[in-house]
Structures are given as C-alpha cells and as structure tokens.
Symmetry: C2
Subunit: 121 residues, 2 copies
Amino acid sequence: MPPKPINFTDKLSKFSEHWSPRLIAELNHYQFKLAKIVGDFVWHSHPETDEAFIILDGNLVIEFRDGSVELKPGELIVVPKGVEHKPYAREECSILLIEPRGTLNTGDAGGELTAEQDKWI
Amino acid sequence: MPPKPINFTDKLSKFSEHWSPRLIAELNHYQFKLAKIVGDFVWHSHPETDEAFIILDGNLVIEFRDGSVELKPGELIVVPKGVEHKPYAREECSILLIEPRGTLNTGDAGGELTAEQDKWI
C-alpha cells in the first residue's frame, strides 16, 4: 500500500484540548504534531533542538526576550535551540509543530502544562 | 533580534522555475524547501532518508510502484526511505519539502533534473 495523505483539517477535527499536541506523522526521528492553543503558555526553551511552527489557522504570537513576533496562517518560524520563547494566542490557533521525537512542549520549564508524548491521532 | 516569520506566499513569489527547490529555513540539520512543479518527474528513491511533502497550492500526484496518491492543499505525506516514487502535477503545484540537508531532489536516480543544492530565497 502506498503511504497515506494526512489532511490537517481532518486531523484537527479529532481533538479539542488546548496545549496538547497530537502526533500525525514521523520523518526519520522527527515528528509532526498538531496543536490547538489559546491564551498564554509558559516561558521555556529547548536546550537540545530547534523547533519549527507552521500556522494553520488563527494567529499566533511568540514572545522572545528581545521582542515578539506575530504569525498568521501560511507562515513558518524556526525557534533556535536554547532560545527562550512563550507562545500566546488571543483566540484559538491551530499549529503544526516539527521537532525531534521526545521534545517536550514545555522544554526546560516543565510544570503542569507539560503534555503527554506520542498521542497519535 | 527575534527569529523572523517566513511567509510561504511571499517566498513563492520570488521564483518561477519548476523542479528547482529553494531553501527557506533550517531546523537542526533538516531543511525546508519550496518547489514549484508541473508535469512528470523521474522515478527515484532516497535510500538514506524519509521525505515529507506538504501541499501549499494546486494538486500533486505521487506515483508509487503499488499505486498512486492524490494530494491537495493542506495535506502532508511522508515517503519512507528507500521507497520509489514519481511526483506528477497536471497543473502547476507548489509544495513544501522537509528533508535532511544534502538530500538530492532526484535521489538515487540522478540525471538532468537534479537541482542545485542550498538555493536560499
């Protein structure tokens, strides 16, 4: 059987929890995860890896220590490893995350917003 | 300075050549490349790596030895390493490729459609 297409809209319809990334595909040891977010996340960094965000729906703000960036659908940003950041969305925003297997959503910060890994949908 | 958002539409307006991927971002040793394609590509595989395609505009067909897959905007497919495939687009299609640095567009096939590497836009 050939590999299957993965439709972002279909996959996004399968969950509603915020700040709880769902795994949709793997590329070697990298993972593609969908997340729905709203409000403020915690300041954190990923000391071991860069992290890519692609905006699918809604608007995302990422605060950095030296300024904030606004992102809209059809935009990509790569947060370099070790760089502190804090995602924020005024209204619900859907994003695609690309990062190595095992990357925690809260990075080095931990805490109660730390999501379970490898929740396939 | 915080990292900059990368807008796919803006970047796609900067080139018109077909089958000539342009580098827009790096994530560790992985690369994000935009490509515009039309017509038939060559059968090839990537013996060392999986390869991800995200469709941005238009429709893409990927032929595999055991069947073909049609993809539309908002869809992702991961072609596993070593699996022969042949992209095809009836009309122009814009795609985002995600793969390790150094991955050739023609994989193990080579030939005149082999594109130059690391053409940043």
